[in-house]
């Protein structure tokens, strides 16, 4: 008996099919180069067994086995950016809904040189010293960081010339720097300039801005050569690259800082595409084009100098009606408005105005639940609240019914660390919410409100003005559908912030952006309890960091992820963390954070790209109104 093998291709090749699955939406595909690759290919092998019976050869039996063989294939590389959140623009007439991380074309690409582009802003900046500012908005047009966001959520070198390399002990990072960049005052950008800036950022005795958080893990920055530095950290920092990205950590001219002293605050000198020209306090900040600029963000059409002659940030009123009127009158080309989607929707119907809803990845907008105050100290009550809130109704006026709703996640789609296991852990289920409270002994009284041990269930949700209608609808929803009284004391944000930091209220309405699970650190690490601007949710906690339950496990995962260099393990830690937080019902997920943005497309054209902050790239925009 002899055997021979014949093979035939099995349809076992995957890849593209997997990419298309899971609800992902393909945004664009672009054909690239062809390459030869050696691949292991599974094949089916048919084994024919020849058997001689009475002088005749016949095939007695057929056997099928699977073998793996190596073969040379010619493949065409196709880059397929996959958007993590389904676009909803089709369902929202007039409003373009898109991610911060994508390019949004305002007009057909037909750049015009000259003129002025203007940006409606509000709130005078606190100065332009990158070491002390808590607001990097306008600064981002004049100064640059070592790295920046490129389209597609990719981090690219900006003032660095390559990605950082970590040492074997993971306690230092080698960062190569560009050798072809000068500050606006003609001084060279080099290792000395970088070290000068980092030393200021790290000066613990000086008043520092939010950059202090970026460098909190740094121990020393040293010069390797003219165009390379090494950053030493106190402990391994797996998220180092994030500390070197805008909106903080901008590099300023050492010579200008030294010579101008305090006056540098109002006369910034950086390397960016715009050169500071004039700051009329509370009125406008004007910048002129940096003709020598040639190292813009990769992936955008224009990496060179800006098209417009001037860029103005016009300081408008804190009152959004006044801001909106100024925009509508054509006195600014573009405007970001917080808290008022009705205005955005109204303006969406005006010809020439582009209304954009920018999805800001992170935790989204949520309502933290105080785990220490009665009755939300009871897990069942928190779970019932998560189940009962009608997100669409509550957020309708606040976010115009445009922002995607969230029910069972504290991390938005696409944010590293979102745990797919928890997709259906919570859902909107009013009956279940009521059953939870019924079973736990919270009985409804004659007035419709629930009572336990003679105490009426009552939670506080202060109104700070910005989301007033949201508070009222939340109150109606929760009181009618769950029987918990909602108190809405009116107060300004400053008062609320202090009370919330001290854990005085049951809930509020907040949001925070970030690219990965580390965004949870500020809000849930027990060492952040009581620190202004940080924790808004309180576990059972005895005041000693690391001893809380389940705070200690949360701390361990948050801290562990920061020092874990294996990305898969790091993501797993954040996923575990999200699961713990959801199981403990520490907040009511509401909607993905969507920030409204308006552009007068008859005044400004080009490509709009934000990256991951609210400060857009301005070199790919141009004036359509000449010297407007």
């Amino acid at each position: 008996m002899r055997t021979k093998s014949l093979s035939r291709r099995a349809v076992l090749r995957g890849g593209a099919a997997a990419l298309a699955g899971g609800g992902a939406v393909v945004l664009a595909a672009c054909a690239g180069d062809t390459v030869e690759v050696i691949k292991e290919v599974p094949v089916e092998v048919i084994r024919e067994v020849e058997v001689v019976v009475a002088g005749e050869t016949v095939i007695k039996e057929v056997e099928v086995i699977v073998e793996v063989v190596k073969e040379v294939q010619v493949e065409t590389i196709i880059e397929v950016p996959v958007e993590v959140q389904a676009k909803t623009e089709d369902s929202v007439p007039g409003i373009v809904v898109d991610q911060y991380t994508n390019i949004i074309p305002l007009t057909d690409w037909n750049p015009v040189t000259g003129g002025n582009i203007s940006w409606g802003s509000f709130g005078n900046p606190d100065g332009f010293d990158p070491a002390t500012t808590a607001n990097g908005f306008e600064l981002g047009a004049m100064m640059e960081t070592l790295y920046d966001w490129s389209p597609g959520n990719i981090i690219s070198p900006l003032l660095a010339s390559g990605m950082p390399e970590v040492s074997d002990d993971r306690l230092s990072w080698l960062i190569p720097l560009r050798n072809d960049v000068k500050f606006h005052d003609g001084e060279p950008w080099n290792a000395d300039a970088a070290i000068f800036n980092f030393d200021r950022f790290m000066d613990e005795g000086a008043v520092r801005g939010r950059v202090a958080n970026n460098v909190s893990s740094f121990s020393k920055v040293e010069k390797v050569d003219e165009y390379a530095i090494r950053i030493h950290t106190k402990e391994p920092n797996a998220l180092m690259i994030k500390q070197l990205l805008k909106p903080f950590g901008y590099m300023a001219s050492p010579k200008a800082i030294t010579e101008l002293g305090e006056d540098f605050q109002r006369n910034p000198v950086g390397t960016g595409p715009w050169i500071f020209k004039e700051w009329k306090d509370n009125v406008s900040i004007t910048m002129s084009r940096n003709e020598d600029y040639a190292h813009g963000v990769p992936g955008l059409r224009n990496q060179g100098a800006a098209y417009a002659d001037e860029l103005s940030f016009v300081q408008l009123s804190n009152d959004f009606t006044a801001r909106g009127l100024a925009f509508e009158a054509g006195e600014v080309d573009s405007l970001g408005i917080h808290f008022n989607f009705q205005q955005v929707q109204r303006m969406a119907s005006i010809p020439g105005i582009t209304s954009i809803g920018l999805l800001n990845p992170g935790m989204g907008q949520y309502m933290p639940l105080n785990c220490q105050l009665w009755p939300t100290d009871d897990l069942v009550v928190r779970q019932a609240l998560i189940a009962v809130v009608d997100r669409a109704l509550v957020t309708a006026r606040f976010s115009g019914g445009v922002a995607p709703l969230t029910f069972s996640h504290y991390l938005d789609p696409g944010v590293l660390g979102r745990n797919p296991e928890m997709d259906h852990y919570y859902s909107w289920d009013v009956s279940k919410a009521n059953k939870l409270l019924d079973d736990a002994g919270y009985a409804k009284g004659d007035d419709g409100f629930r009572v336990k041990d003679g105490r009426r269930m009552e939670i506080s949700m202060p109104n700070t003005g910005g989301a007033g209608s949201l508070n009222a609808v939340f109150k109606l929803d929760v009181e009618a559908n769950l029987g918990i009284f909602v108190d809405i004391p009116n107060m300004e944000f400053s008062t609320f912030a202090e009370g919330a930091t001290n854990g005085e209220y049951h809930t509020g309405y907040v949001g925070i952006g970030g690219s990965d699970g580390d965004v949870l650190w500020d809000r849930f690490h027990t060492s952040a309890y009581g620190v202004p601007g940080r924790a808004w949710s309180f576990f059972q906690y005895d005041g000693v960091p690391g001893t809380a339950t389940p705070g200690s496990s949360v701390d361990a995962l948050l801290d562990g992820a920061r020092v874990e260099f294996d990305e898969a393990k790091r993501i797993k830690m954040w996923q575990d963390l999200e699961k713990i937080l959801l199981e403990n019902a520490v907040a009511i997920p509401m909607v993905q954070e969507m920030l409204p943005f308006l552009v007068n497309s008859s005044l400004m054209g080009g490509d709009l790209f934000f990256g991951a902050t609210f400060m857009p790239n301005t070199t790919n925009l141009y004036s359509l109104a000449g010297d407007n």
Binding site: F248, Q315, E498
Partner: protein
């Protein structure tokens, strides 16, 4: 008269000092940490991760003496105040004196322009209303007066903006400046005061017009124009002048709202922003300035009053 003015100025000093102490202590009693707010004012919706630690906040707090007790802070502040130093703004790091110098012109222009509108419209309408008593003109003037007092200034402002800036495009929305940028804010600000002055002028004029000396003037055969402008108006203006002084303070306060609506960067705009972020030195500086201006205007009104009404002067001298 000189002695009277000096006495009034000396009496104003404890008033201003009292204001300083009240404002200083009140700002520290209300919730809100000025240092923390610099870092996370926008930590609501639309904020980004990465807040600073308590240690960083403490260093900044010490830089503004906020780590010391309130009495200690007050002593330090008073010491600086007597040398003319109002301190530095926590938000912008600029000397408060410089901020006031930069933004006072916008507010003073607005206040005086508002007062001008109020005087022209208010007194004019009041006189016409009194002279044309119980006619359609009088009724129309009264409707204006009631409407002017009843409608909030910010509503008037938004309506004017919508009509004249958005629809007709005659005036800009962003109203920084002196020329046509001042027109709509001044009208918005002046309308309410004009309404009050119109009612007051009308009733004062009606009162005066019934007096014997007016009848005598008419009996002498003087023309009605001379009777009104030469005899009636001067006497009718005595209570009006008092109200004008008080209204000046009102306009100064009202300019806060108008500056926000018209995006006019004056002291009111500064004050709103400073309060919202608890910028103690700036709030203190602006309130002290307001107290000084208000006190001075009151002294000026009293001096003018004594000039207009000899009886007050005589009482003051005999007293």
């Amino acid at each position: 008269m000189g002695q009277y003015i000096v006495r009034r100025l000396l009496a104003a000093i404890p008033v201003v000092l009292g204001v300083v102490i009240v404002v200083f202590v009140t700002m520290r009693l209300i919730p809100g940490d000025p240092i923390a707010l610099q870092y996370y004012q926008s930590q609501g919706v639309g904020s980004f991760e990465g807040m600073v630690s308590q240690e960083v906040l403490d260093v900044a707090r010490a830089a503004y003496n906020l780590d010391k007790s309130v009495p200690h802070q007050l002593l330090l502040y008073m010491g600086d105040l007597f040398t003319g130093d109002l301190g530095d703004s926590i938000k912008s790091h600029r000397p408060v004196g410089d901020i006031i110098k930069d933004h006072a012109p916008a507010t003073l222009q607005l206040t005086f322009a508002g007062m001008f509108v109020a005087l022209i419209i208010g007194i004019g309408a009041g006189i016409v209303s009194a002279v044309k008593h119980n006619t359609i003109v009088d009724y129309a003037a009264q409707v204006f007066a009631v409407s002017g007092v009843s409608i909030p200034t910010f509503v008037v402002g938004i309506l004017l903006l919508y009509a004249f800036a958005i629809q007709l495009n005659w005036f800009p929305v962003i109203s920084n400046g002196f020329g046509k940028q001042l027109v709509l804010p001044a009208i918005s600000l002046g309308v309410a005061a004009a309404a009050i002055l119109a009612r007051l002028t009308r009733s004062a004029m009606l009162d005066v017009m019934g007096r014997d000396y007016i009848r005598t003037a008419r009996a002498k055969g003087l023309r009605e124009r001379v009777v009104i402008w030469g005899h009636a108006l001067k006497n009718a203006m005595i209570p009006v002048i008092t109200i004008v002084g008080l209204e000046f303070g009102g306009l100064l306060a009202g300019s806060i709202v108008i500056e926000v609506v018209f995006i006019r960067q004056g002291l009111g705009f500064q004050l709103i922003n400073a309060i919202s972020v608890r910028d103690y030195p700036l709030v203190q500086g602006l309130v002290i300035l307001s107290a000084v201006v208000y006190t001075m205007v009151n002294i000026l009104v009293d001096v003018t009053y004594t000039y207009l009404d000899p009886r007050v002067r005589l009482q003051g001298q005999s007293g």
